[in-house]
Symmetry: C2
Subunit: 199 residues, 2 copies
């Protein structure tokens, strides 16, 4: 019995090693450097071992993405709850999101740009993802003014995601990012003038 569980433990540990190696490699040299051969060499096993843990390379990327989502959820939560008023919470969350994407571009890419088969906008979505999205919802709720905060959260998330990805591709200048974010947020925190009903 014990010997069985020891093997399982070692197996689980090796799986973590693979994920960590993939993440490390991606973050230092980009995803194009993450090949099955290179990864196998890094963990000091042969290629087929990777396939005894994961269905394919995509599954490894997905595992890394999931880890990144967990990290992001934690950072968003910390940033939002550190603030003492709704405006600061929203600004803090947004800044933290952009900073995450800027500091871990490869990780961010796996999470939100690459095609991974994680369930997203469904009940089966991973817990960490729901939590991360929940942070957006919470931050945005004070400014919903009748709109569903979940939708507003999607809109803000998309707006930030767009800025981050376009910036990364050199499509919009990085220098004015702070200002760009600030302007976006002022538009977001506006009270709708037409519909003055609180509801």
């Amino acid at each position: 019995m014990s010997i069985q569980s020891r093997k399982e433990r070692e197996r689980a540990q090796r799986e973590k090693l693979i994920i960590a190696a993939a993440r490390e490699l991606a973050e230092t040299e980009g995803w194009e450097a993450v090949t099955t051969r290179r990864l196998a060499e890094e963990v000091e096993y042969s290629q087929p071992v990777l396939y005894s843990h994961f269905k394919g390379k995509d599954a490894i990327v997905t595992a890394v993405a999931l880890e990144g989502i967990t990290d992001l959820a934690a950072e968003l939560h910390a940033a939002r709850t550190a603030a003492h008023d709704p405006a600061a919470a929203l600004a803090g969350l947004s800044t933290a999101y952009v900073a995450f994407a800027e500091q871990r571009p490869a990780l961010y890419e796996a999470m939100f740009s690459r095609h991974v088969d994680l369930p997203f906008a469904t009940p089966e979505a991973p817990q960490a993802l729901k939590e991360a999205f929940g942070e957006f919802v919470a931050a945005v709720r004070p400014y919903a003014h009748g709109t569903a905060p979940e939708m507003l959260a999607e809109i803000l998330w998309a707006a930030l995601h767009g800025q981050v990805t376009l910036m990364r591709g050199g499509r919009i200048p990085r220098e004015v990012q702070e200002h760009r974010l600030a302007v976006l947020l002022t538009r977001f925190t506006q009270e709708p003038v037409g519909s003055a009903r609180s509801r």
Copy 2:
């Protein structure tokens, strides 16, 4: 002399053929189907011919992207100028942008998601790109309220780009897209309540 120019003409024509074939292939089967072998077969030449026209596969993708940008600029212009008031212009432009991305996902990907080496936010950017961006600037100007319209254009573009790409990856639901866009636009067209100066 004439024979020289005829050759150049034929060469230019073949180059267009390659770009058209790449675009066609990408739009019908996705970019992963666009391999140099497949493309060569499609244009009925051998692989090395591709390399006498383009530096590499990436350059072919870039050429397709540039073509797409030209198309997009035209569609944005048509949508914006068809409207008779600023609000309708902004809405029309935004809807046209999203529709373009939805209807030509592969083309859109080459233009704004893939890593292509086109100069974007610089004076050396291709004319079509400047025009497309100019449509955003024009549509957004009535709502600038003191902010630089170019920056506001970037913000709107990024917001739309985010919605489009997250939707494409299944990260946000497609069903509510119209509503999501509408809400985004209401936030955009708000007059800033704090700074009532027109300036």
